[in-house]
């Protein structure tokens, strides 16, 4: 499930410890974004600039973990033909419209075998199960806010929607990166 090149910005992700550091850094980025967005929205009213920034983060941050197109740390989740974004491009990009900067696509990265397909489906089910609880807690938080501070509900609604989308788009990749075992030396060897 981990890309055969095992690299992200030149760093090897073959070891699980490295991947876990990446996951922690990624979620710290989301936490920082959350704090910055909340701080900004508390000081100002909702503006177009803030929405554009939020959308850019929403569409690009999950790209760091891969899973959508080849070239990311995780191979693309192929086989879901009805998903409109799946077949648009072959290679993962960090910023929309830019050239691929994470990695290059190899033939091995474009196909999932039965183990990888099974793993992909399992982590998506686990993510779905977790999302049920996360959604419930976010709704409870929003409802509480609406009761206590109704003037904040417009900003909070947008913020919660973006946060929910970020978690939803990142959770399966996070589970894979966190749990996949170390690639052994022979796993990492160049195909002969």
């Amino acid at each position: 499930m981990i890309t055969t090149t095992n690299k992200l910005f030149g760093f090897s992700v073959a070891r699980r410890s490295t991947r876990r550091i990446l996951v922690v850094v990624y979620w710290l980025c989301i936490a920082a974004f959350t704090c910055a967005f909340l701080f900004d929205q508390m000081r100002h009213t909702l503006d177009v600039f803030g929405i554009i920034i939020a959308l850019q983060i929403l569409t690009n941050l999950p790209s760091l973990l891969g899973g959508v197109r080849a070239g990311g740390v995780i191979k693309p989740y192929r086989g879901v033909k009805w998903a409109p974004l799946m077949d648009r491009d072959e290679v993962q990009t960090v910023f929309s419209g830019a050239r691929p900067v994470i990695g290059s696509a190899t033939a091995a990265d474009l196909a999932l075998d039965e183990r990888e397909t099974r793993l992909r489906d399992r982590v998506h089910f686990v993510s779905y199960t977790l999302m049920r609880w996360i959604t419930l807690f976010l709704f409870a938080g929003y409802a509480l806010l609406a009761l206590l501070r109704p003037e904040w509900t417009r900003q909070a609604g947008l913020f919660l929607f973006i946060l929910l989308a970020l978690v939803l788009w990142s959770l399966p990749q996070t589970l894979i990166l966190w749990n996949e075992p170390d690639m052994s030396a022979t796993d990492m060897e160049e195909p002969r």
């Binding site: 075992p181 022979t186 195909p191 002969r192």
Partner: protein, 96 residues
């Protein structure tokens, strides 16, 4: 079977002889992976017992090596090859 030769069923609960068969025939993981249509990393998972193959993949591996599935995969530890080849002589030497 794990890479160091010690039998372990791994997470799958299946013992296998893929690493031994591959070594004795000089076949790389990539060659086996190409032959059965999986990623070469998956062969590593199979050899370590971290992944239990589908029935189709198990039969494909059996066909590739020209062996029945039960000669490659088992729910019980395999008898050591030395014991299979040399029988009681091998056991006597070990116990001596």
């Amino acid at each position: 079977m794990s890479d160091n030769g010690i039998q372990s069923p791994g997470e799958s609960g299946l013992y296998n002889r893929i690493a031994v068969l591959r070594a004795e025939r000089g076949i790389s993981r990539q060659a086996l992976a190409d032959a059965v249509g999986v990623n070469y990393q998956t062969i590593g998972f199979l050899e370590r017992g971290d992944y239990g193959p589908s029935l189709k993949l198990a039969f494909q591996i059996g066909e590739y090596f020209g062996l029945p599935v039960e000669a490659i995969f088992s729910t019980k530890p395999f008898e050591l090859l030395s014991q299979q080849v040399y029988g009681s002589r091998s056991t006597l030497k070990e116990s001596a």
